[in-house]
């Protein structure tokens, strides 16, 4: 991934999070907690489970469509980070050679089952996490974390990081461009030059932090970052949370897919 696309990606997610839809209006705390519960439920399935995982796609699909998030964007990002899970998972078909019976005379090795299961879990967890941030502004997530009793210092650290991320990334973009223009092929990309670049960037960052500190002092900073915005749990939030919990419960403990499959088989076959 080139630098510009990475920069563009963060900016785009940030933009998406300022839309105004039902999902975006939900309380960040509720969204965060429901998403975490969703993730835990998904990974709590055994490593050979496939069918029971399918209904869980409902949640990311609802977030995506109700939140008006472009499908291709999320798909691309999911594919982009897939190598590690795929790399570790691909050993399963090679190492777990037990045979599982599926249709009449049609068998598949157990390793493939667990590999497919890993891929499904991977898609579910990654897309849901991305959709959480695409439908909730990062400051919103931070305030949710604060209200969930994470230390104030850590939360303000997150907010600061997010605020200056864009600034420093733009600065870095200029540095990288300058390096690329002055170097042809692989010249100028070795570690010695990298160290110089990183060192310069570091010093500039420190100096910037000092200026920021003085600016904040002159505006009355006393080590805390109060917020004016107050979040309130509304009826929409309660509705969202309760229906999400009910669905998670049903999908986790009742083999909905299987029952449906049997029912359809019974009717048509």
């Amino acid at each position: 991934m080139t630098f510009d696309t990475q920069y563009y990606n963060i900016g785009f997610l940030d933009q998406l999070s300022y839309k105004d839809t039902f999902v975006h209006r939900l309380d960040p705390r509720v969204k965060l907690v429901v998403t975490l519960l969703f993730l835990f439920t998904v990974i709590s399935f055994s490593k050979y489970e496939i069918f029971a995982l399918v209904p869980f796609f409902l949640y990311p699909v609802l977030l995506m469509t109700l939140g008006e998030i472009p499908f291709m964007f999320i798909l691309k990002k999911v594919l982009l980070v897939s190598p590690f899970a795929v790399f570790i998972g691909i050993f399963n078909p090679l190492l777990d050679s037990g045979q599982v019976f599926i249709f009449n005379g049609f068998t598949i090795s157990a390793g493939w089952l667990s590999f497919i299961s890993i891929l499904i879990k991977f898609t579910l967890t990654v897309s849901t996490a991305l959709l959480l941030i695409a439908t909730t502004s990062f400051p919103g997530v931070c305030h949710a974390l604060r209200r969930l009793k994470l230390p104030a210092i850590f939360v303000s650290q997150l907010l600061f990081l997010y605020r200056y991320l864009f600034v420093l990334m733009e600065e870095t973009m200029r540095i990288v461009r300058a390096r690329n223009m002055r170097s042809f092929g692989e010249r100028g990309k070795d570690m010695r030059i990298y160290v110089r670049l990183a060192g310069t960037l570091f010093l500039r960052a420190v100096e910037r932090a000092e200026r920021i500190y003085h600016a904040m002092l002159s505006r009355g900073f006393q080590g805390d970052m109060p917020t004016l915005k107050h979040f309130q749990i509304k009826s929409g939030d309660v509705f969202f949370a309760l229906s999400a919990l009910a669905l998670l419960f049903v999908f986790r403990f009742f083999p909905a897919t299987e029952i449906l499959g049997r029912f359809v088989q019974g009717v048509f076959l």
Binding site: P55, T65, L130, P151, Q157, M191, Y194, A205, G223
Partner: protein, 344 residues
Amino acid sequence: MHMADALLSPAVGATMWAGSVAAIGYSSAKLKKHIDNKTIPLMGVMGAFIFAAQMINFTIPGTGSSGHIGGGMILAVMLGPYAAFLTIASVLSVQSLFFADGGLLALGCNIWNLGVYPCFLAYPLIYRPIAGDATSARRISIAAVLSTIIALQLGAFSVVLETLFSGISELSFGAFLLLMQPIHLAIGLAEGMITVGVILYVKQARPEILEANIVSRPLNAGISIKNVLAAFVILAVITGGALSWFASTNPDGLEWSIEKITGQGELAEQTSGIATSLKNIQGKTAFLPDYGFKPAADEENTEEATPSWPGIEAGTSVAGVVGASIVMMFIMIIGFGIRLFKKR
């Protein structure tokens, strides 16, 4: 070496989250006591710096491939362990949210693997004793390279352990170890050299930055860090124990990895005993147990060396495929429906 959600079991994920949140809480409390307000914006900008520095790639000598830094040790040296740990944790949080690097559940693992080791082990126990008062460039170099390599090795080892205890991957302990450790030795060496370079560069240009850190954090900080680590270990064990009932919901988790690690020979009989009895329990407690065409599948399964087969039986799988396709269709129809409705 970011952990991924899909390779985690809930018990491991929750345990590592508990450990990491405890470390965040502890570091915050420590910082609150000793901090001058100046450090707060500095930490934030340093986090952004790490982010930016990771985006410049460089060629790793001898391989031709390009890499980027993690930056844990640079932060620990520049900011001191507590501020550095919070900064790393914040960087990883943003990465997991915006790049889906790892994932939200694996974030606990990643903060632990990439934050705790450099800040609370490598920095106080390796870097500080060797680098001393940070006047000699040679000692700084040795200290930085060594501590970076060891921190990364510990991190990579943790990834192996976390994956094994989750029991999702089939890789054996030894094979996984061989995959992970040598790669991270090379990465650690490159990162160590860069860490040295940056530290020496800063020392040359703005020596007061390094000195300020050394003066403001006296050496006796090391003692309390040991206590903290002990507390973390105890906490992790307790939470792990409390959450281990999760493991019983998927019998292939812990037993499986124990079996792999100890070698099938010694425990083979025992594990198959546990697994079969668990399977029986599962058979009894399963919702609508008579929904599977059991006999044929069961006979096959008992012959397998891998004893645990939750959920997959011949009878259920046909229904599963049919049901899954229908559910998927439903979800897609709902999705397209909402899209169309919204467009109008």
